[in-house]
């Protein structure tokens, strides 16, 4: 009697495990729609996460200020040393500043022509350590839609993979399911930038047989895929190695965006010019 009871419990446990594993497999990759339960819970959690994000802001600001003061002190010492050694650098600096301003103006102009931005705040991250997603406080009601690219002023962040009325989930570039068409800015060699589970960097699998890529090269989006526009900065090459089976070269890339300190982002919307009927 006792044995059959135990057997039944074991059978029930095995059944539960089986069902869970099937559900995990079925939901493993990016889905086009979400279930109503997910939508409702995401909305509720979005509100709670917004409150926490708002309450935590002063603490984040203080820690950032401390970090910035440290960086500034180091930079200050280094720059003082450099300026003392080479006075002509000041003139160069002025030139660079002016050039920078001009390029900024140009970039701003180009950006206003190409895209519409939706500024958003990161209010949550995925609970586990296997994947990399973030929740933002803008959703369908604000014009965010599936697969919209997400950026910061430093570069590419990822793309929208789930949208509710008030929130959206962004699959970060670090996520193992993420694939971004990339380009070595210097040599124009193309490849695909992928994330890995548990990794804090991304890697680029290069298409050409003998690609021209070296440490320090800047990688930008190629615009060849259907999600990301061309020219968004991705990161800098840290090292280059032969990939699995030695068929392709793989470049390890340090993204420009610090994903641990992701706060404000921009959701890019393709610019649709108003056409007039004649």
């Amino acid at each position: 009697m006792h044995g059959s009871h135990r057997g039944r419990r074991l059978l029930a446990a095995a059944l539960v495990v089986l069902v869970v594993l099937v559900v995990i497999s079925k939901t493993a990759h990016v889905r086009l729609s979400i279930t109503p339960v997910e939508g409702l819970l995401s909305e509720l959690a979005g509100r709670w996460q917004s409150v926490v994000a708002w309450a935590g802001k002063p603490f984040v600001k203080i820690s950032q200020e401390i970090a910035r003061l440290r960086t500034m002190r180091d930079e200050n010492l280094m720059m003082r040393d450099t300026v003392l050694k080479t006075p002509w650098l000041e003139a160069d600096l002025q030139e660079a500043l002016k050039e920078n301003q001009r390029l900024r103006d140009l970039l701003r102009f180009a950006e206003t022509l190409k895209y519409v931005y939706i500024p958003a705040e990161v209010i949550g991250r995925n609970p586990d350590n296997w994947l990399n997603t973030a929740v933002i406080n803008k959703g369908l009601a604000d014009g965010v839609s599936m697969n919209d690219p997400v950026v910061t002023s430093l570069g590419l962040v990822g793309r929208v993979i789930k949208v509710t009325r008030k929130t959206a989930t962004v699959m970060l570039m670090l996520d193992p399911d993420s694939g971004v068409g990339g380009l070595v800015q210097r040599s124009r060699d193309a490849g695909v930038v992928v994330g890995v589970a548990g990794g804090q960097t991304v890697s680029m699998k290069l298409f050409p047989r003998d690609p021209d890529v070296k440490a320090g090269d800047v990688i930008v989006t190629s615009g060849l895929g259907s999600f990301f526009p061309k020219g968004l900065p991705i990161g800098k090459v840290v090292s280059v190695s032969k990939g699995e089976y030695g068929l392709v070269k793989v470049a390890d890339i340090q993204p420009f965006v610090n994903f641990d300190r992701l706060e404000e982002v921009l959701v890019l919307k393709p610019y649709e010019p108003v056409t007039e009927d004649f």
Binding site: V17, V20, L21, V23, I24, S25, T27, A28, H29, V30, R31, V37, E38, L41, S42, A45, W48, Q49, V52, A53, G56, V60, I123, G124, R125, N126, P127, D128, N129, W130, L131, T133, V135, I161, T169, M171, P176, D177, V194, G195, V196, A197, G198, G199, Q200, D260
Partner: protein
């Protein structure tokens, strides 16, 4: 599980979910997040038995999965395993020793992080073993600290319930 403990069970799981979905991701250490739901599951398992631990981990994990995860059930499944591990350890170790509680949290986190990594990999997602071991190790170290704290909080609440119950019996 006794009915008097149900309130503490629900509030512990809810607290774990709220912490894990909103606060834990903000205190990432080298890419790893502290695992509050796992800590709650282990503590519930140690204090209330394997069923309470596993169901607490499963419910909390499922809520976190539905809020913001792509693999629905993965976090729930692994945290249920953590609760089960805590529950199975309860008769075998001196759980009042907080260091022991931390050690159970450490090993349980390490084991389920790797189990989860294997499930992720099995579903066709890229898996960098070295990077992942690094993250799993840091997450396990976080559990070493977090689990005794959560255990102590739930244990205090449980003791209060027990003492109020015994007062009622005496009266």
């Amino acid at each position: 599980m006794r009915r008097e403990y149900l309130r503490h069970f629900v509030s512990s799981v809810l607290g774990g979910v709220l912490f894990q979905t909103a606060i834990a991701p903000r205190i990432r250490i080298s890419g790893a997040k502290p695992d509050a739901i796992g800590a709650v599951a282990v503590a519930l398992g140690l204090l209330m038995g394997p069923l309470a631990g596993a169901s607490g981990g499963f419910l909390g994990g499922l809520c976190a999965d539905l809020v913001n995860s792509r693999f629905i059930g993965l976090y729930a499944f692994t945290r249920a395993l953590m609760g089960l591990a805590g529950g199975l350890a309860t008769g075998k170790v001196f759980k009042e020793n907080l260091l022991m509680t931390g050690a159970i949290g450490f090993f349980a986190t390490m084991a389920v992080e790797l189990a989860g990594g294997l499930i992720v990999s099995w579903n066709g997602v890229g898996f960098d073993v070295v990077a992942f071991l690094n993250v799993a190790g840091i997450a396990a170290l976080c559990s070493l600290v977090l689990t005794p704290v959560v255990f102590y909080m739930i244990w205090r609440a449980k003791v209060r319930v027990d003492s109020s119950q015994s007062q009622v019996i005496v009266e």
